[in-house]
């Protein structure tokens, strides 16, 4: 897996680079600012990019904007965005093109390296991974008329884990049910959210997007 890393703090950049190399990833480029990131994304065309939201020169959401810009030019370019804080606003912007291949995680998730590398692979394969904190905030909303309200409690559990980027196998393990049961729940979720039948990965992305927009 070829990875571009964009992080302005030298120690963290080195740390992520070493961690990924230890897991057999190939670091195509490790950059420290927005313009260098765009250049690296467009010239290296990595399998996945790890991007810090806040980057120089502006020290605002430079990294996020660079990632969005690169995805406009290379649709579906897999990007895992890391940040010290998560915002639903940014999550929506990342998912808005419906192309998938998007992750949005708190930086501390890097600490649990096995999970982190799993997440990276999911994103590289076109999956969608939202931080549990984003998902928790979504669940805390009690909107009454949203399509999400039509889901059963079990279906919400499944959707939550789906939003966190888990595969059906992982969801089945977590909820102590069979994989078949999970895929039945998934079909029901897609129907309740009015998602037309299509390739299943894409429907998962759309389901998460519907969840975010609820």
């Amino acid at each position: 897996m070829r990875v571009v890393v964009a992080e302005d703090l030298f120690l963290l950049r080195e740390g992520i680079t070493r961690l990924l190399q230890a897991h057999g990833c190939d670091i195509a480029a490790a950059v420290g600012d927005g313009p260098a990131l765009i250049q690296a994304l467009l010239s290296e065309r990595p399998d996945v990019a790890i991007v810090d939201v806040r980057l120089p020169p502006t020290f605002t959401d430079e990294g996020l904007r660079a990632a969005l810009q690169a995805r406009r030019q290379v649709p579906g370019l897999p990007v895992l965005v890391l940040s010290q804080y998560v915002e639903q606003l940014y999550a929506r912007e990342l998912l808005a093109d419906r192309a998938g291949g998007v992750g949005y995680l708190l930086k501390d998730r890097v600490f649990t390296d096995d999970q982190f590398v799993d997440v990276l692979r999911t994103v590289a394969k076109g999956g969608t991974v939202m931080d549990p904190e984003v998902v928790a905030a979504l669940l805390a909303r009690h909107s009454r008329d949203a399509p999400i309200a039509r889901l059963t409690e079990r279906e919400r559990d499944v959707l939550t884990l789906m939003a966190e980027g888990r595969s059906n196998t992982a969801i089945a393990q977590q909820l102590f049910v069979s994989e078949k049961a999970v895929s039945k729940h998934c079909t029901s979720i897609f129907a309740k959210l009015d998602l037309p039948p299509s390739e299943s990965d894409n429907r998962r992305v759309l389901a998460v997007l519907a969840f975010l927009n609820s």
């Binding site: 939201v53 806040r54 605002t60 959401d61 996020l64 904007r65 969005l68 810009q69 010290q84 804080y85 915002e87 639903q88 606003l89 940014y90 929506r92 912007e93 930086k107 501390d108 600490f111 905030a137 805390a140 909303r141 009690h142 909107s143 009454r144 949203a146």
Partner: protein, 307 residues
């Protein structure tokens, strides 16, 4: 005011000088060359002006007219000054009040931050150091125990991070720093447990302190609506017109919000008063609750936005 008075006086004085000069000049001009010698009347007139009789009468009349004209104006100016003085006095009192409140709340806020850091992240980091030191000692003799301590340290560092994150949001929310007021409010609406809609029309960015004050004011009002109103929907409107930033937060809850009760709305009022902002609350029993915040400010060019 004083400039006006001075200008009036100067004009009067110039009129007087003008007549004096004309009087003398006519005399020297015409009598000297004898051009009007045939006209006795004119001659008398000019001589009289030159000699001072008519001139003195005219001068006195002018001075009197000037006096009659000046006196009511002076009185008017005086009354204006008294009024302005009163207005300034009340303004100074108000500024002293709001400045006092601003300084007090800033100091209280710093104390709270210090306490939160001391009891939270700082304490966790101390524990982390102790755990790691213990793990160092146990590393050779009891690797399993050392491993457990290191794992505990990792959890502890994650908790410290979570606490720091919450603190940073309370000081200056990252979206506000990244994107400015409009997107920060949109993010606030998105994160609200009660569905909230944000309708924001801002041609530019307010100054940073106003932006921050308005953000926290809206956050407080929204939190109040979520906690107390029983609302199913909240609508936030922000617009800017003629030097005034206007925020309107409407919820469809049961109303009865009282600014005098609880610290929430009073706090919003205090926060806004530092910027000469005002807060109006309309919350009849049965709802809806409408809270309007108005603050005068100038807008700068908008921040660059990705969308």
């Amino acid at each position: 005011m004083f400039l006006g008075l001075y200008a009036t006086f100067l004009t009067g004085w110039m009129i007087l000088m003008f007549f004096q000069v004309i009087g003398n000049d006519y005399y020297t001009l015409y009598s000297g060359r004898g051009l009007l010698a045939m006209n006795a009347y004119s001659d008398w007139f000019i001589t009289s002006i030159g000699s001072g009789v008519v001139r003195d009468v005219m001068t006195s009349a002018l001075i009197m007219a000037f006096g009659v004209w000046l006196v009511p104006r002076t009185i008017g100016v005086h009354a204006g000054l008294v009024q302005r003085n009163a207005a300034l006095t009340s303004r100074v009192t108000r500024l002293a009040e709001t400045r006092g409140t601003a300084v007090d709340s800033a100091a209280a806020e710093l104390r709270r931050l210090e306490r939160d850091l001391h009891d939270g992240a700082q304490a966790r980091l101390v524990a982390l150091g102790i755990n790691l030191r213990a793990a160092e000692h146990l590393f050779k003799t009891n690797p399993d125990a050392a491993l457990a301590l290191v794992a505990e340290s990792r959890v502890s560092s994650a908790l410290a991070l979570a606490e720091l994150r919450a603190l940073v949001r309370g000081i200056h929310p990252p979206v506000l720093a990244d994107r400015g007021l409009a997107d920060a409010i949109r993010a606030l609406a998105l994160g609200s447990p009660v569905p909230a809609e944000a309708d924001i029309q801002l041609p530019g960015d307010p100054p940073a302190p106003v932006e921050s004050a308005v953000y926290f004011a809206v956050a407080e009002v929204l939190a109040n609506a979520v906690k107390h109103s029983g609302a199913g929907h909240v609508h936030i409107r922000i617009a800017y017109q003629a030097g005034m930033l206007r925020v309107e937060v409407t919820d469809d809850g049961h109303g009865g919000a009282d600014p005098a009760q609880g610290t929430g709305l009073a706090g919003v009022e205090r926060r806004m008063s530092t910027f000469d902002g005002i807060v109006a609350v309309s919350s009849p029993p049965g709802g809806p609750t409408i809270i309007v915040i108005e603050v005068p400010c100038a807008l700068s060019l908008p921040k660059i936005c990705s969308s």
